[in-house]
C-alpha cells in the first residue's frame, strides 16, 4: 500500500498537579472552556477517586486547533495521561507538588514551562515531627531550575487570599501572564466571567497571578528560610533595663549580643528586671569559661548557646505564664485578627485547660506545695476534684478576673514550688556544662546546653521531655573526654526527637552503653542503628 503521510500537528500538553480540594478540576475546566471557545479541540482527564480528600492528584489536558483536525479530516486521538518528557506546561498548586511533577519526569529542560505556587501545605509527616520536620523548599526550586525550560514560582495562595479568592484563579492568571498558552488575556478573563461565580474576586486573583508571571525573573531567586534575630536595641525604656543592655555591649562579644537581647526581653516580660539581670549573671559565668577555652575561635558557641537556652529555661511555662499570656490585650487583638473578625462582631475565646495536681502544687509556696504533693488524703481529694477538663471563657468577667489574678502571682513566683524545682534542674544542667567546659570538653558543653531544646510542652509532654533530658545528661557524663562526644550527644538529641515513644533514643542509648566498656577492642558496627526507628 501507499506510504502513510503522518500529520505533524501535535497537541499542547498540560499537567496540573494539585491536592484534593484545591480546585485543580476548576482550573482544568477553565482551560478547556477557553480553548473550545477559541476553536480548539480540548480533552481533559483526571483520576479523582479518593484523592479528592486532601491527597495529591493530577489533571491532564491536551489542546489542538480544530483547524488542524479539519485539515487532517479526522478527530484527534489524544492521550489520557501525561508521558514523562512530553509535557509543555506543568502547573503545580503547591511547591512539593512541583517536586512530584519533576520526580515523575514531567518536566524537561527542552520544552516544559513549570509554574508553581511556593506556598506549602505541610504533609502529616512534616507536621507531626517532635521538632522541626519541614522539608527544605529550595531543594525543589534548585531542581526546577535544572529541570524546566522556564521556572516560575510565586506564592499564588497568598495572592488568592489577598484577592478573597481561591488558588485556581491566581494559577489561571499566572498561566496567562507566563504566555504559556496561545490565548490572550481577554480569553482568560472572559472564561472567568462566563463561569459567573465569585467573578470579581477571581478576576482580582487572576490579575495578581498574571502580573507576577508577566514580570517574573528569568530564574527565580531562592526562598529565604533563615530566621532573623532582632538586633540588640540601642535604648531601653528604663534606666534599669538600659543598664542591662549596656552590660551586654560591654561584657559580651558582638556575636552573642542579639540573642542576649532577645533573652533579656523575654525575661523582663516573663518576670522582672532583676530576673533578667540574674540571667546575664548566668550567661556571664559561662562566657568566662568560653573565653578561657577557645570560644573566640568557635564564634562563642558556648555563650550563644547559653544566651538562648538559659533564657528559655528560666522562662519555664507555668500556670502564671499561661494565665498572663492568655489575658493580655495584645492577645485579644491577635485573636480578632486571626479569626478575621470585622468591626461590630464580638469575639469570645474559650480556652481548653486541664490543670493537674502538679500544677496546683507548683503554684503554691514551696513547703505547702511539697506537703500537698505528698499528702495522699488532701492531695488525692484535690486530684479527684480538680483534675478535669475546664473550658475557660476568657472574655467573661468571672474567668478573666480569675486568670488575671493567677497572672498576678508572678511577683511571688520565686517563692513557689515550681520555681525551686526548675532552678534545681537548671543548676544541675549548668553545672554540668561548666564542668565539661572547664575540663576542656568545649563542644560537648555546648551540646549539653542545646539539649535543653527537648524540654518543652506541658503535662505529660513536659514530663516526657524531662525524662529524655535526664537520659541525655547521663549520656553526656559518659561521653566526657571522648573524642566524638559532642557529635554523639547531638545524634542522641536528634534521636530524642525522632519518635514519640522514644524508641530511637532507647536504641542509641543502648548502643552507647553496650559499646562503652569495650570501645577499644570491639569492632564498631553501630552505623545504621540510629535510623532504625526513624
Amino acid at each position: 500500500m501507499n506510504p502513510i503521510t503522518l500529520n505533524t500537528d501535535t497537541p499542547i500538553k498540560i499537567a496540573i498537579l494539585a491536592m484534593g480540594g484545591q480546585g485543580g478540576g476548576v482550573l482544568a475546566d477553565w482551560i478547556v472552556e477557553m480553548a473550545e471557545a477559541a476553536g480548539w479541540w480540548a480533552q481533559t482527564t483526571s483520576v479523582p477517586g479518593v484523592a479528592q480528600r486532601t491527597g495529591a492528584t493530577i489533571y491532564y489536558l491536551e489542546l489542538l486547533p480544530e483547524a488542524a483536525a479539519h485539515a487532517a479530516g479526522r478527530a484527534p486521538v489524544l492521550a489520557m495521561m501525561p508521558t514523562p518528557g512530553d509535557v509543555d506546561l506543568v502547573v503545580a498548586a503547591e511547591l512539593m507538588e512541583a517536586g512530584r511533577a519533576m520526580q515523575r519526569g514531567l518536566v524537561t529542560p527542552q520544552r516544559t514551562t513549570l509554574i508553581t505556587s511556593t506556598h506549602r501545605s505541610y504533609a502529616v509527616g512534616e507536621k507531626a515531627a517532635l521538632g522541626n520536620g519541614i522539608a527544605d523548599p529550595n531543594k525543589v526550586i534548585d531542581a526546577g531550575r535544572d529541570a524546566a525550560k522556564r521556572l516560575m514560582c510565586f506564592d499564588l495562595q497568598a495572592m488568592a487570599e489577598d484577592a478573597g479568592s481561591v488558588i485556581s484563579a491566581s494559577l489561571f492568571g499566572a498561566i496567562a501572564g507566563a504566555g504559556a498558552l496561545p490565548f490572550g488575556r481577554e480569553a482568560f478573563e472572559h472564561t472567568i466571567r462566563h463561569g459567573g461565580k465569585g467573578v470579581e474576586a477571581s478576576l482580582r486573583a487572576f490579575a495578581l497571578g498574571f502580573d507576577a508571571a508577566a514580570n517574573a525573573p528569568a530564574s527565580p531567586a531562592a526562598m529565604s528560610t533563615a530566621r532573623t534575630l532582632p538586633a540588640l536595641p540601642e535604648r531601653a525604656a528604663s534606666p534599669e533595663a538600659q543598664a542591662l543592655v549596656d552590660r551586654v555591649r560591654r561584657d559580651f562579644p558582638p556575636a552573642a549580643h542579639d540573642m542576649l537581647g532577645v533573652g533579656l526581653a523575654r525575661l523582663i516580660d516573663y518576670q522582672d528586671v532583676d530576673y533578667a539581670a540574674q540571667y546575664l549573671d548566668t550567661c556571664a559565668a559561662l562566657h568566662i569559661l568560653d573565653r578561657q577555652h577557645g570560644g573566640e575561635t568557635a564564634d562563642w558557641a558556648l555563650t550563644r548557646a547559653a544566651a538562648q537556652r538559659v533564657a528559655v529555661a528560666m522562662s519555664y511555662d507555668d500556670v502564671i505564664r499561661v494565665a498572663d499570656l492568655k489575658t493580655r490585650g495584645s492577645r485579644f487583638a491577635r485573636v480578632r485578627e486571626e479569626v478575621g473578625a470585622l468591626d461590630g462582631q464580638l469575639v469570645y475565646t474559650t480556652e481548653y485547660m486541664h490543670p493537674r495536681l502538679e500544677e496546683i502544687c507548683g503554684t503554691l509556696p514551696t513547703a505547702l506545695g511539697r506537703w500537698l504533693d505528698a499528702s495522699k488524703t488532701v492531695g488525692g481529694f484535690l486530684k479527684r476534684r480538680v483534675e478535669k477538663g475546664r473550658r475557660v471563657q476568657t472574655g467573661t468577667l468571672r474567668w478573666f478576673l480569675a486568670l488575671y489574678l493567677v497572672a498576678g502571682l508572678r511577683r511571688f513566683r520565686r517563692q513557689l514550688l515550681r520555681h525551686q524545682i526548675e532552678t534545681a534542674q537548671q543548676d544541675a544542667w549548668l553545672d554540668r556544662a561548666k564542668r565539661l567546659a572547664a575540663s576542656g570538653d568545649y563542644a560537648l558543653a555546648v551540646e549539653v546546653l542545646h539539649c535543653r531544646r527537648i524540654v518543652k510542652g506541658y503535662s505529660g509532654t513536659h514530663d516526657r521531655g524531662d525524662k529524655r533530658f535526664a537520659s541525655l545528661m547521663q549520656a553526656a557524663d559518659q561521653l566526657a573526654g571522648q573524642a566524638d562526644g559532642a557529635n554523639t550527644l547531638a545524634r542522641l538529641r536528634e534521636a530524642a526527637m525522632a519518635d514519640e515513644a522514644g524508641r530511637a533514643l532507647d536504641a542509641q542509648l543502648g548502643e552507647l552503653i553496650r559499646l562503652r566498656p569495650t570501645t577499644a577492642d570491639v569492632p564498631q558496627t553501630p552505623k545504621t542503628r540510629m535510623t532504625a526507628d526513624a
Binding site: 518536566v107 534548585d142 486541664h354
Partner: protein
C-alpha cells in the same frame, strides 16, 4: 445529597438528535443509555463510577419523563439481581459499579443471570478501578467475564466509541441472550470529549407491561436439569451468536498501516495510549494515522478467532498490548494461532510489563523493544531514536530528567501525600480516642473496613491491621472470639453496614456470641464514594426512604450491649465508652455507634444557610479554633493525635523557639476536635475556640461593653507596667 451536583450538566441529556454533546464520560454514558431505550437502571456508587450514579440521580426527572426506572441499589449484588427483569421480558436494563470489588459482590447474581441467559439487553457498566488513582486491589474484571461467559466490551476511550459501545452492548446482549459487561477505565469515566447525539428513546417494552402480563419459563431458571442445559446452550448457541454479531457489526476495528509485516493487537481502552506511544516513536500522528496496522479489540471477550487469524496471516510478528494479569488474551491468541497453524510470532508480556498499569511510557518502551527485535529498520531511521541514542552516549538529554541527581534528591524532600480525613472530619476524634485508649490499655487488634475511616491506618493514627472488603470489618474479626486479655476491635462505616455489615458482621457476631468491640461510624452518608444517601441518612430525600436508624437494625439483630455516641467530637466520652466496651464483663458483641455528620457534606449544607442568615441580620455564632503561638512549645503532640489538614505548623516568630508552632489555618470549620483532644489527652493550654458573634443583639453588645470596660482597664494597667522596662 451527593457531593457533586450534576443538575446543570444533566440538561445536556435533553439535547436533540444530531447535535454535538460536549462533556464528561459518565454523562455521555448516561446519554447513551437513554438513546438505547433502556428501561431500568441500578447500581452502587464507588470510584470511578460514583459520578455516574450521581448523574443518574440528578437526571431522575428526565429518566421519569422517558419512563426509565432508576434505583440506588443496596449493593452490587442487589444491582446485579435487578437485571433479572431482563430474563423473561424484552426490557433493556443497565447496572453499574466499581470493579473488581463490585463484581466480586455481584458475582453470585451475575453467574445465575448468565447461566439462564437474558431476553432483553442486560448491560453491566463496570468502572475498572485499576492503575493510578485506584483505591483497591489490582485485579482484572476479565476473569468474571470468562468464568460466567458474559461478553466484555473495552471500547476505545473517546466518547463516540463509548456511546456506540453502550448501544452495541444492548444489541449484542439480545442477539446472544447473554449479559454484557462494558468496561470503562478510570480516566475514560472522567474524560472530557464530544460526540454527535441521537434521539432519546422510550423503552419499547415497559416494566409495568411486564408486571401486568407475567411470564415464566422454568428453562431459564438455574435449577437442574435446566442448569445443565444452560452450559451447553452457552457453547452451542450463545457463543456462536455473539461471534456472528461481533463480526457482522464490526465491533472490533482494523486500522491499516503502510508497514505490512508487523502489527499490533490491543484492547480498545489502550488505543489512545498506543497511538501516543507510536507518535513518540515517529510511527503515528495525533489523528490516529499509524504506519503499523492495528487490530483493536473493542470486545476483549470472547476473542474472535477468525479475526485474529486474518490479522496475523502474512505478518512476520505481532505485538499484543494487554493490560493487567493473568495474560488471558495472550494465552488465548497463542492457542488460536497454533490451532490455525499460523507461524506469525506473537509478542506480548515478553516485552511489556506483566503487572501494573500500561502507561504511555510503558507501552512506548514495549513497542520499541518489540520493533527493535522484529523490525529495527522502522526505528533507526527516526530522529527521535537518534536523539535517544545520543542521550545514552551522554551527548544530549532529551530523555526525561528524573534520573538527574538533583531530582533524585527530591525523594528526600517531597512527602508522600495520600488521601486522608478532611478538615473537621467527625471520624478523626474516634481514632484520637482510640489512640488514647491504646495509651491506657495497650495496643489491640483492629480490623478495618472500606470507607473514609480506613484512613486510620495512615499516620498519624497508624491504627488497623486488615481490611477484608466493604462491610466486612466486623466479620474480619470473627476468628478473634476466644478468651484473651484483650478484645479485638472492628470498625465499620454506615455505608458498609447497610451494604452487608448488618448480617455479615453484626448478626454473625450476635449468633456466634462474639466477645469483641464493633464501632460503627455513622456519618449520615456513604461519604467515601461522594456523600450519597443511604437508609440511615438524616436528609429528607423525596425519592428515597431515609432516616432509618442503625440502632433499630442492630437491636433487631439481637445486640444487647449498645452505646450510641451522638457527637463523636466528645473525645473523652468516646475514649471512656471504648474503654468500657473493652473491659466490661458482659459477653457478646459490644457495639458502639459513633454519630456525627460528614463535615464535607455538612459544610455544603449549612454554609449557604449561615451566609444567608448573616446577610439577613440574624444573630449567628461562628466557631473557629486557634493556637496561641506564645503558649505553644512546638512539640506537635496535638498533630500526632489529630492530623487535621487545617491544623498545621508555622514559624514561631520567636528567636528563642527553634521549632515551628502549631497553627490553625483559615480552613478551620470549628469542629472542636483539636481542643477536645488537647483536653482529653491533657496536652497543653495553647488551643482556644473563638466564637465570632455576627449581628450581635442589644444584650450582647451591652454585656460586651461592660466586660470590655473592665477587661481593657486591667489589660492596660498591666501592659503599662510591662512597658516600663521593655527593651
Amino acid at each position: 445529597m451527593a457531593e457533586r451536583s450534576f443538575k446543570k450538566e444533566v440538561q445536556q441529556l435533553r439535547i436533540p438528535a444530531g447535535e454535538e454533546f460536549r462533556g464528561e464520560g459518565i454523562l455521555a454514558i448516561t446519554k447513551a443509555l437513554l438513546q438505547s431505550g433502556v428501561g431500568y437502571v441500578g447500581g452502587y456508587q464507588g470510584s470511578p463510577i460514583s459520578h455516574l450514579m450521581d448523574v443518574l440521580a440528578d437526571a431522575n426527572e428526565i429518566l421519569e419523563e422517558l419512563g426509565v426506572h432508576f434505583e440506588t441499589s443496596a449493593s452490587e449484588a442487589t444491582a446485579a439481581a435487578m437485571l433479572a427483569a431482563s430474563v423473561m421480558y424484552p426490557i433493556r436494563g443497565a447496572v453499574t459499579w466499581k470493579s473488581t470489588v463490585g463484581t466480586n459482590v455481584a458475582s453470585d447474581a451475575l453467574a445465575n443471570l448468565a447461566s439462564g441467559g437474558v431476553t432483553g439487553g442486560a448491560l453491566v457498566i463496570i468502572g475498572e478501578d485499576y492503575g493510578e488513582g485506584s483505591s483497591i486491589m489490582q485485579e482484572r474484571s476479565h476473569a468474571f467475564a470468562m468464568k460466567s461467559q458474559m461478553w466484555l466490551l473495552d471500547p476505545r476511550p473517546n466518547l463516540e466509541s463509548i456511546v456506540q459501545s453502550v448501544e452495541d452492548g444492548f444489541e449484542l446482549s439480545e442477539a446472544s441472550n447473554t449479559p454484557v459487561m462494558l468496561q470503562v477505565r478510570i480516566r475514560s469515566c472522567h474524560v472530557h470529549g464530544r460526540f454527535i447525539t441521537k434521539e432519546n428513546k422510550r423503552p419499547a417494552f415497559t416494566l409495568a407491561e411486564a408486571m401486568a402480563h407475567p411470564v415464566r419459563d422454568t428453562g431459564r431458571i438455574v435449577l437442574p436439569p435446566a442448569s445443565f442445559g444452560h452450559e451447553h446452550e452457552k457453547i452451542e448457541h450463545r457463543w456462536p451468536a455473539a461471534v456472528r454479531f461481533i463480526r457482522e457489526r464490526k465491533l472490533n476495528e482494523f486500522f491499516d498501516g503502510d508497514i505490512t509485516d508487523v502489527g499490533l493487537i490491543l484492547q480498545g481502552g489502550l488505543y489512545n495510549g498506543v497511538i501516543r506511544s507510536l507518535q513518540l516513536l515517529g510511527l503515528a500522528d495525533a489523528f490516529g494515522n499509524s504506519r503499523i496496522p492495528m487490530y483493536v479489540m473493542n470486545v476483549t471477550y470472547p476473542v474472535i478467532d477468525d479475526e485474529v487469524v486474518q490479522f496475523c496471516e502474512g505478518k512476520r510478528a505481532v505485538l499484543l498490548l494487554e493490560e493487567g494479569q493473568p495474560d488471558y488474551i495472550e494465552q488465548n491468541l497463542h492457542a488460536i494461532l497454533r490451532k490455525a497453524v499460523v507461524a506469525t510470532h506473537l509478542s506480548g508480556k515478553d516485552v511489556l510489563p506483566m503487572a501494573g498499569e500500561y502507561t504511555t511510557a510503558a507501552m512506548r518502551n514495549g513497542i520499541e523493544a518489540f520493533l527493535k527485535a522484529q523490525a529495527p529498520m522502522l526505528l533507526v531511521t527516526h530522529p527521535a531514536v537518534d536523539a535517544d541514542e545520543m542521550a545514552r552516549k551522554g551527548k544530549a538529554a532529551t530523555v526525561p530528567l528524573n534520573f538527574h541527581p538533583r531530582i533524585k534528591d527530591l525523594a528526600n524532600v517531597v512527602p508522600a501525600r495520600p488521601a486522608g480525613f478532611c478538615v473537621g472530619c467527625p471520624e478523626r476524634p474516634i481514632f484520637a480516642a482510640m489512640k488514647l485508649v491504646e495509651q491506657d490499655l495497650g495496643a489491640h487488634h483492629v480490623s478495618c473496613d472500606i470507607g473514609c475511616h480506613l484512613f486510620s491506618i495512615l499516620p498519624p493514627f497508624n491504627l488497623g491491621a486488615t481490611t477484608m472488603g466493604y462491610g466486612l470489618g466486623a466479620a474480619s474479626s470473627s476468628a478473634f472470639n476466644v478468651k484473651s486479655g484483650k478484645r479485638a476491635i472492628s470498625v465499620m462505616g454506615d455505608g458498609g453496614f447497610w451494604h452487608n455489615g448488618l448480617t455479615s458482621g453484626i448478626a454473625n457476631a450476635v449468633f456466634n456470641k462474639h466477645d469483641g468491640v464493633i464501632i460503627i461510624v455513622d456519618n449520615f452518608y456513604s461519604s467515601a464514594t461522594g456523600g450519597q444517601d443511604i437508609p440511615s441518612s438524616r436528609a429528607d430525600n423525596p425519592r428515597r426512604a431515609t432516616q432509618n436508624p442503625i440502632e433499630h437494625a442492630i437491636r433487631g439483630a439481637g445486640v444487647k450491649w449498645l452505646r450510641v455516641i451522638d457527637r463523636t467530637y466528645d473525645v473523652a466520652r468516646m475514649r471512656d465508652t471504648l474503654e468500657e466496651a473493652l473491659t466490661t464483663p458482659e459477653g457478646g458483641p459490644k457495639v458502639i455507634i459513633a454519630q456525627s455528620e460528614c463535615m464535607l457534606n455538612k459544610q455544603r449544607r449549612v454554609k449557604p444557610q449561615i451566609a444567608k442568615a448573616v446577610k439577613a441580620g440574624t444573630r449567628v455564632v461562628k466557631e473557629r479554633f486557634g493556637v496561641d503561638p506564645d503558649v505553644c512549645t512546638g512539640d506537635h503532640a496535638c498533630i500526632r493525635l489529630s492530623g487535621c489538614p487545617s491544623l498545621s505548623v508555622k514559624d514561631s516568630g520567636d528567636p528563642l523557639k527553634d521549632d515551628p508552632v502549631a497553627h490553625v489555618d483559615s480552613n478551620c470549620v470549628g469542629c472542636g476536635n483539636c481542643g477536645e483532644v488537647a483536653e482529653a489527652a491533657v496536652l497543653c493550654p495553647s488551643f482556644y475556640r473563638a466564637d465570632i458573634i455576627h449581628n450581635p443583639t442589644g444584650l450582647d453588645r451591652f454585656m460586651a461593653r461592660i466586660r470590655q470596660t473592665v477587661i481593657r482597664f486591667l489589660q492596660t494597667r498591666r501592659a503599662t507596667r510591662l512597658a516600663r522596662h521593655a527593651l
